[in-house]
């Protein structure tokens, strides 16, 4: 088993692909945290904790949920919205949850507006600009998600979560697989359950 761990960066200019470091993807019913395979239940708890701890917990919905290609996509979008609303209800004053779309994958040089969107070719701009310290990708096609997750790990200290509809992402610090409406709703429930039990980094920093 690999000793490499997928941790928040910055891991500098060329972070290795986690797969090349021996990190493998979870099987159905499992997830991974930092590259270690864990039961899915554990991942819900950890993802919720990371969101509740972050100063700027952010959800990045991608084209697969932003555009209503089919009924399923529209339902997932509703679930993502519910997750965001739950997060807003559960954070403490001083924390600033955000919902920033990734409408498509065009390399929009040099016009990216980091306040209102994220682009997979330079996701670090949106993360730096909004001081995002924890983010979740949902509805982003695999290769674009991998690209973005690597760039984020390379150049920022942001904690990355992937709510992946396929087999998961090695390059995220925490990855679910087979994402569905139910799984997104379950993450929202977990956040609600853990509300008030996790100390945000913001207040922790102030108390030191």
């Amino acid at each position: 088993m690999s000793t490499y761990r997928v941790l928040p960066g910055p891991e500098h200019f060329l972070p290795p692909a986690a797969a090349s470091m021996g990190i493998r993807l979870p099987n159905p019913g499992e997830a991974h945290i930092h590259g270690v395979i864990v039961p899915e239940e554990q991942a819900y708890e950890e993802a919720a904790r990371q969101f509740l701890m972050a100063k700027v917990p952010t959800i990045f919905p991608g084209p697969l949920v932003l555009w209503a290609w089919n009924e399923k996509a529209a339902k997932k979008a509703t679930a993502v919205r519910h997750l965001f609303e739950t997060l807003k209800e559960c954070v403490q004053p001083g924390q600033k949850p955000m919902l920033i779309p990734m409408p498509d994958y065009r390399p929009k040089y040099p016009k990216i507006n980091p306040e209102i969107e994220i682009n997979p070719n330079h996701p670090n701009l949106t993360i730096w600009h909004n001081k995002i310290d924890c983010c979740m990708f949902v509805g982003v096609h695999c290769h674009q998600a991998n690209l973005s997750l690597k760039i984020i790990r390379g150049g920022t200290s942001c904690y990355t979560i992937a709510m992946c509809a396929q087999a998961g992402h090695e390059d995220a610090m925490l990855s679910f697989r087979d994402a569905s409406v139910d799984k997104i709703m379950k993450l929202a429930e977990t956040i609600k359950r853990l509300k008030g039990t996790v100390e945000p980094r913001l207040s922790a920093a102030k108390s030191h």
Binding site: L66, W67, A68, A74, Y109
Partner: protein, 302 residues
């Protein structure tokens, strides 16, 4: 077809950047008689570009985007060059191929699309510069025409390699001295329209982009003929104002000067017999459609 295929999820509509909301609300996808006159009134499929101020290529891009008869089912194939700086800003599917490979990519793409979507019209349009079309990619360009591949090839002819500093290209005019070709071109401009005709293209036009209505007409004709009959080729003069020593506002005049009957970009058109017949049929149907629409409007007003 059309806008029904590009809906934003209601739950996330409010977070979508305005550009995308506008594209869904007021773009011309699915509009039967879309054309250059929609520019400025409808949401354009290209609004921003990263080309130089006053670049005729940017005008050409706008006119072509406004004229595609079926943009939601069109895939454009581009190549390295100034055009590749614009494609990321275009709201039509596009592929950036390796330099010169564009017609080979388009051949495979067109065939794959016809297998994957047998009941749906899918247009493929190649848009590349003269270096990609005539020099480095000439093999791929010609072979696709020999094979009678059903797609349109558009060449933005600026008569040199513009974004690498002004090297000589096959379409450069004889005697022209460029920044990176100080001796001057030693031989004649390649006569690609004639070569295209002899290679099997059914609709060939050479013109400038000084007249948007003309660009609309030839783009539509080229796409219709390619869809039904076989390869088509458009060679559009889009001078690089920087490389020929002009100012931003002089591009249009340069094109007007170059399209005079005795000049090298005088309008040139070759149409095969089957293409002539098809275009006549389309024109007749279009006339009928417009007459019917006019009648309906008249009735509604009465």
């Amino acid at each position: 077809m059309s806008k029904e295929r590009i809906k934003i999820s209601e739950a996330l509509y409010d977070i979508m950047p305005t550009d995308y909301q506008d594209l869904v609300k007021s773009a011309t996808y699915g509009k039967e008689d879309r054309g250059w006159k929609d520019i400025g009134t409808a949401k354009e499929l290209i609004e921003q570009h990263s080309l130089c101020a006053g670049c005729p290529e940017s005008m050409a891009f706008r006119y072509i985007m406004a004229s595609l008869p079926n943009p939601e089912d069109t895939v454009m194939v581009g190549s390295t060059g100034c055009t590749s700086l614009v494609f990321p800003m275009v709201a039509v599917h596009n592929i950036h191929s390796l330099f010169g490979n564009q017609n080979a990519i388009a051949s495979g793409l067109k065939r794959a699309l016809s297998v994957r979507f047998p009941g749906r019209i899918k247009d493929v349009v190649v848009l590349a510069g003269d270096g990609a079309t005539v020099d480095i990619g000439l093999d791929m360009t010609l072979q696709s025409w020999f094979r009678q591949e059903k797609f349109t090839t558009i060449c933005f002819d600026n008569e040199l390699y513009a974004n690498t500093g002004g090297q000589e290209s096959g379409l450069m005019q004889k005697g022209f001295v460029a920044k990176m070709a100080p001796v001057g071109k030693q031989f004649e401009k390649v006569r690609l329209p004639e070569i295209a005709r002899e290679s099997g293209c059914h609709y060939v036009v050479q013109c400038t982009v000084s007249k948007p209505s003309l660009v609309e007409k030839v783009v539509k004709n080229a796409v219709y003929v390619a869809r039904e009959i076989g390869p088509t080729y458009l060679q559009l003069y889009t001078p690089c104002i920087l490389e020929i020593g002009k100012n931003s506002m002089e591009g249009l005049q340069e094109m007007r000067d170059s399209e005079k009957p005795t000049e090298r970009f005088a309008y040139k058109e070759f149409v095969s017999e089957p293409a002539k017949q098809l275009l006549a049929e389309i024109a007749a149907k279009e006339k009928e459609r417009k007459a019917a629409a006019k009648q309906l409007t008249g009735q509604a007003q009465a």
